[in-house]
Point group: C2
Chain length 393, copies 2
Amino acid sequence: MTYYRFADRMIHAPASFIDELFRVSGEPGVISFAGGLPDAALIDRDGIARAAGAVMEEEGRCALQYSTTDGYRPLREYIAARYRRRLGIAAEADDIQIVNGSQQCLDLMAKIFLNPGDAVGMERPGYLGAIEAFSLYEPEICTVPLGDRGPDMEAFGALIHNRAPKFFYGIPNSQNPSGITYPDDARREIARLLDGSGTLFYEDDAFGELFFDGTPRPPVKKYLPDGAVLSGSFSKIVAPGMRIGWILAPPPVLQQFNAAKQAADLHSNFLCQVVLHHYLSDTDLDAHVRRVSRIYGERCRTMCDLIDDRLPAGVARTTPEGGMFLMVFLPPGVSSMDIFREGVRHGVAVLPGVPFYAGGGGEHAIRLNFSNADETNIVEGMERLARVVRGCV
Amino acid sequence: MTYYRFADRMIHAPASFIDELFRVSGEPGVISFAGGLPDAALIDRDGIARAAGAVMEEEGRCALQYSTTDGYRPLREYIAARYRRRLGIAAEADDIQIVNGSQQCLDLMAKIFLNPGDAVGMERPGYLGAIEAFSLYEPEICTVPLGDRGPDMEAFGALIHNRAPKFFYGIPNSQNPSGITYPDDARREIARLLDGSGTLFYEDDAFGELFFDGTPRPPVKKYLPDGAVLSGSFSKIVAPGMRIGWILAPPPVLQQFNAAKQAADLHSNFLCQVVLHHYLSDTDLDAHVRRVSRIYGERCRTMCDLIDDRLPAGVARTTPEGGMFLMVFLPPGVSSMDIFREGVRHGVAVLPGVPFYAGGGGEHAIRLNFSNADETNIVEGMERLARVVRGCV
């Protein structure tokens, strides 16, 4: 008899793409628009190094000891104060739980809410990491088409009314994979439709600091304080390797979330929480974020211009206002999997859209990342991609 | 309608004690034997600080970027080489996955193996964090009494035969909470009973480096290579605040484990993985572990002697060979909850046994931690405890 009698949830899990991405992205000579990395050259290495040195000197033993599940209180106070100042939403340290990057929120939100067979809503296309995390809890993933004006509101309303999903997961700011930002009226309408519905809005805000114009957009949570949870991350604005994100949630949710977090791994890396807080206390994060956003904005415009200039007729794209991604839609008959395979042969990696479409679709969509290639590589990579696409049309 | 329609698994979850422990442990004037902390004074703060400085200088941007799910390869090579040298078991980097402290192994092992209603085996008493992690997957937790000679082999064999649990979770080295170490014949017998049974042995080895005599014990995995997974942690031998543990598992298990880890949080804190590896490459871990083990051994002997000298007749205790805990059994009629409450009033915190007994029991047992109090505090704390127990008998 085999020892390896895995749980049913593992059999249902979709095969993962994310690790393969990192592999393809790293092949020599390949210009990669496939990954989802911020530009490491923009990480404030020296500032973080100074903070690490000071923490080890002043409070190293404490930062190296076990800590509590909720997270380092001064860091949670910083996050809460930033919410109050930037977005004008009520937030206190006690409303916040630190996690291992906002991916952990996906796992724990699914864990505390989803029974097998429960409906859960998300955008189509939607974030691949969310599909992977949710799938292990065996829900029925119900998708709503996402367009330039946000989620299709008729489909959204019907989903909430007919299926009463436990929560709807969305990324209103510079969505992954599409780069779409919900307009303000869509945010208000979502709050109106969810108010009192029994469906929570799970608002993933990994990219909200990276608007190219530097202007924050009001979160859905502002219009739906008790009916929304909001997750955030330092991965894109400070450094991903520290794996520090958080969730802002109403007290009943936070209590269950905390219990699930404790069972999952006791607490997040405490040393990096203390180092990160020391760094933030000593740096002008606004200025840093403005600089990163400006550079990503330039790269995005370069990429958009090259798509418009070089790719054949019939190609469409999204127009990001921020973030790290945009989406290209190929003409009918052109397969994104073919573009992926041919692209790697010609030295450019893109990400096929299929895994982002939980309900099927995406055969003609590709996701492009513009944050982790400089202007030279964007120009050269887009030339290669243009040749590949023209060869496939 | 409320937004907070939690999953059934949360309703079944036992209330947690662990965070409360930290709170009680921190009250001023209380000498705490209740927690589970290594002594922060024994952490090599200066060595880790040097490693952190060097990593930030030499490869900071890389260590601050996203990485792969499996973990930093040089660190996995270090762990594998240490297994080969210390324990004589076959291990390569590819057999190892890095996690956020070995608590995350508990969550992910339960996630990949347990359907609701599945049987899972563990010791009685058993590790509280395991009971909490497993419970969220709604298994039937089946316990086997643990005594000075290891698990009751008759009960163990009957459990495997009658219930075919997906895995049996045990801590053969200096078990938490009892401090009991399985003798070698128990290890061989477990491997014999499990061989070909379909039940995996999940061997948690958080304390195996902390034998007071400095001699490693052979893991069950040595006798059952394909039928055991072995988890380990740097929390007790380097520093808990970095949250770095690992699992050594056969390839089919590791593949599912890796998929679950990726969905849970993409990867563990990469900065600390690189810093930890740099530290380990530059330090004599054997010498450090010998020193820590010797000091814990002295504290354990002091505590054992005071139990024998000062506590009333009818009190029994375990005799640890290593680790950080021992267990005291009070005379019938004396409640460990009373001792807990009275203890805090008299300035000494102990941990009642009840939450460690998944199948019920433990009313007269208390767990004492000897790693995180120096000799002076052990003497004073045990005097206080003796007064409390004498007052309750």
